[in-house]
């Protein structure tokens, strides 16, 4: 993708401003503070200070906050900090540094007339530099200073035969469209001036040229942008990230082009944030691809053999990768912890009396936060032990007593994979990435449940908490509908089912705190010793393009349940597979039994939403979860006793 950017012509702009400042008579006297306007709105600052020809604004000034809100920007500052940073609507960070005249915005450094300074708990920042970085040009009009919103940048991106043009404004953009001649149309932006080059040759298959013409008074400017297109070119408006941007897409006849028809008049806000064009991915610097997987491994066998008269060899077979750490205790005991591993065989606790090994114990030492298998040895006397990791496990060589026991601990890594391993690049070449996700598909036994026939269902949200609302769907209603269907399906198969809520209600109390509400849901399952906990949700996002089904787990004991349910959901629903993912979600963390949180589909995606409107689909969701539960129970037997 080629990419070029016509920035305002900063040098030109700066020169023009300085010329303006120089030519205009000193606009203010120290005792008569200038009025400051944003277009036709007067801005009232509480405690501005004059600094030469410029104005210093306090970070805590409500007038500054109002200005920033109007232009879609936000200021981050902490008393005592040396940085005060304004984030523009198009997500450029405009950085002011206390004591430093340099102002950085989106990689471009300019010099402010004075260095930002602190007074009390405020930092004072230069208005002119701030305004310019936010595409507002200060214009002196009589005794007043008018900040004139600009079309500050025009971005042209060519992808295949499609050309995307994004106009960046200093304020939310509104426009009306006109055709100036065949193959040429124009958008006029009211209330916006321009500091753009007048003509931009594009030379793309569907867009030849862009002309920019601005006029009007300082407070009431307008700018017309004309697009010259070859005959038959298609043009649409596609959605942008903020109301201050308008993105148009151009393509030759025959090329598929997604977007909306450009209306005769409209606001950029109507096309903002809900959708981002897929062709605009990845405009940033790449770095090496890296995978982060929680190390996940299974201990598949333990083999203790004699190695001569007074020595022994213990081989721990491990599939997957894990970290290990061993310790020698003072009283002839020795153990190794395999972190990131689950026990795929029965726990062992025996007295083999082979080669100096009096006792051998193998158990799942911990499941949370990191599943850990501990192998403990009781030795007949202090022994030197060699620990050798290999791709398929760990060999522990207990030497004869002639050798001196020296090291007290050690650690290392088992398996071919590593916790942080190079991954194949995803999508475009040189894409940089950290990826998450479970790797293991092997299952330990399930923990013991006091009430092995009970499943607790948690319809997400409810009562005062509606959850997300999109496309005529309310999350709390969808989740309850699915849960009721699932209850019927599970009851028919012989399960006892308890719901955290059976109506549209808060589980703890109306308008309660998030903790009380979520803990109350966990308590229901924990108190009754349920075998499983299934929380049902529907997803949402600002971009309507995202869709699909995700099943979340947190504890190691959740993973098998999540995987079985997810496979059934994906097999039967026809939704996009967004995977089984580990996430520290409250309700799956604070439940003491295997628990999952299912994001069935995206309310915010039109086609997913259509599915969620369909009772037949909701029934399929319920049946798939019930099938997943059944397969889980068959495949992952419950431990018969914890002390085994």
């Amino acid at each position: 993708m080629s990419r070029s950017r016509v920035r305002a012509g900063s040098a030109f702009l700066a020169a023009a401003l300085f010329a303006l400042c120089a030519l205009a008579p000193a606009p203010v006297r120290a005792d008569a503070f200038p009025e400051v306007w944003l277009g036709t709105t007067r801005l009232a600052f509480e405690r501005p200070e004059l600094r030469g020809a410029d104005i210093a604004l306090a970070t805590g000034d409500a007038g500054l906050q109002r200005l920033l809100t109007r232009v879609g920007a936000a200021l981050s500052y902490q008393p005592g900090q040396r940085y005060a940073i304004v984030t523009s609507a198009d997500r450029r960070a405009v950085t002011f540094t206390i004591g430093d005249t340099r102002v950085e915005a989106g990689g471009i450094i300019t010099a402010a007339p004075f260095a930002p300074y602190t007074s009390g708990s405020d930092a004072y920042i230069p208005l002119e530099s701030l305004a310019r970085a936010l595409y507002l040009v200060p214009v002196v009009v009589g005794d007043a200073l008018v900040l004139q919103p600009q079309l500050g940048a025009l971005e042209v991106r060519n992808a295949d035969r499609t050309t995307l043009v994004t106009l960046h404004g200093g304020v939310p953009l509104s426009f009306h469209r006109s055709a100036t001649s065949a193959g040429r149309f124009a958008l006029t932006f009211v209330g916006v001036g321009s500091s753009l080059d007048q003509t931009r040759q594009v030379g793309a298959p569907a867009l030849e040229r862009i002309d920019v013409l601005s006029g009007g008074a300082a407070r009431t400017p307008s700018t017309t942008v004309s697009f010259s297109t070859p005959p038959g070119s298609q043009r649409v408006v596609v959605t942008s990230m903020s109301p201050n941007e308008l993105t148009l897409a151009f393509a030759p006849p025959g090329v598929m082009l997604g977007g909306s028809e450009i209306p005769l008049q409209g606001d950029a806000a109507a096309f903002a944030t809900r959708e981002q064009s897929p062709s605009s991915q990845g405009g940033t610097a790449p770095a090496p691809a890296v995978t982060n997987s929680t190390p996940m491994a299974t201990v598949t066998a333990i083999d203790l053999t004699s190695a001569g008269e007074d020595a022994a060899s213990l081989h721990v077979s491990v599939s997957g990768s894990a970290d290990f750490e061993w310790h020698r205790l003072n009283d002839d005991r020795w153990y190794v912890d395999l972190r990131g591993a689950t026990l795929g065989i029965s726990p062992r606790n025996e007295t083999p009396n082979i080669g100096g090994v009096a006792g051998l114990r193998v158990r799942q030492f911990a499941l949370d936060p990191v599943p850990t298998v501990r192998v403990s040895l009781s030795l007949v006397s202090q022994r030197h032990i060699d620990v050798t990791p290999s791709s398929d496990g760990l060999t522990i060589a207990v030497q004869s007593q002639d050798e001196v026991a020296d090291a007290r601990s050690g650690s290392g890594h088992i398996g071919t994979g590593t916790a942080y391993a190079a991954a194949p690049s995803n999508g475009t070449a040189a894409e940089s990435a950290w990826k998450f996700g479970p790797q293991s598909h092997s299952f330990p036994t399930a923990p013991v449940a006091r009430n092995p026939r009970l499943i607790v269902l948690d319809p997400g949200h409810g009562g005062s908490d509606t959850g997300a609302i999109h496309n005529g769907l309310v999350e709390k209603e969808v989740t309850l509908d699915i849960a009721e269907r699932l209850r019927s399906a599970l009851t028919a198969r012989g399960w006892l089912v308890r719901m955290t809520r059976e109506t549209d209600t808060d589980v703890y109390a109306p308008n309660d705190s998030a903790r009380d509400e979520l803990q109350a849901r966990c308590d229901i399952a924990n108190k009754d010793g349920a075998r499983m906990f299934v929380s049902i949700h529907a997803n949402s996002f600002t971009s309507s393009s995202l869709n699909g089904t995700t099943t979340y787990y947190y504890k190691a004991s959740d993973l098998p349940l999540a995987q079985f349910i997810h496979h059934h959901l994906i097999d039967t629903l026809g939704t996009k597979d967004d995977g089984v993912r580990k996430e520290n979600f409250y309700v799956i963390h604070h439940t003491s039994m295997p628990a999952v949180l299912i994001e069935t589909a995206f309310l915010s995606n039109p086609s997913d939403a259509e599915l969620l409107h369909s009772p037949a689909f909701l029934q399929r969701v319920a049946t798939a979860i019930a099938d997943g539960v059944a397969e889980y129970v068959k495949s992952v037997p419950m431990q018969t006793s914890e002390s085994q």
């Binding site: 809100t69 936000a74 981050s76 900090q81 940085y83 940073i85 984030t87 198009d90 997500r91 450029r92 960070a93 540094t97 430093d100 340099r102 950085e104 994004t166 960046h168 990230m241 944030t273 981002q276 897929p278 605009s280 991915q281 990845g282 405009g283 940033t284 610097a285 990191v370 940089s432 990435a433 950290w434 990826k435 998450f436 996700g437 949200h461 908490d465 959850g467 997300a468 609302i469 705190s513 998030a514 903790r515 979520l518 949700h537 949402s540 996002f541 971009s543 393009s545 979340y552 967004d578 993912r581 996430e583 520290n584 979600f585 409250y586 309700v587 949180l597 994001e599 995206f602 915010s604």
Partner: protein, 167 residues
Amino acid sequence: MRALRAIVILALLIFAVFVGYRLAKRASGPTVGSTIQVYYCKLDGQTLVPWTVTLGSARDPKSVAFYAAVQAVAGPPSGTDAIRFPAGTVVRAVNVSDSTATVDLSQAVASSGGGSFAESGEFKALVWTLTALPDIHAVQIRIEGRTVPTLPGGHLELDEPLTRSSW
């Protein structure tokens, strides 16, 4: 006599170099260079992508942590598809102690309308960014100065510090 003078000049030179080195070292701060890596999360909800931003002249750990947090919350410039914190989200404060950065965000962070997907991507990017800095291993989130169990109507547990291994 000439030898003595040479020795004195040499000693002065060594002293000057030493003082200059100490001053330069103090000015540049301990371990942070002129750039830092800021992460954003792609729309797949899983892939974290780093980009490089240039620091201003303040390089002390507290300033750098604040700078990094604001950059991560701002996200990459528009035109890049990323899971983003809601517009208007402000970093109110960043304090670092005992290798934990406490990041206080404004209420606007809760305005995205309840999606576990966005929450996860946003906070993952913030945590990855801050823990890429020297001596920061965990991030405690606060909202308007208070520790919260989750975002209102949210899912991701925020009352304990988040680390890279939280995911």
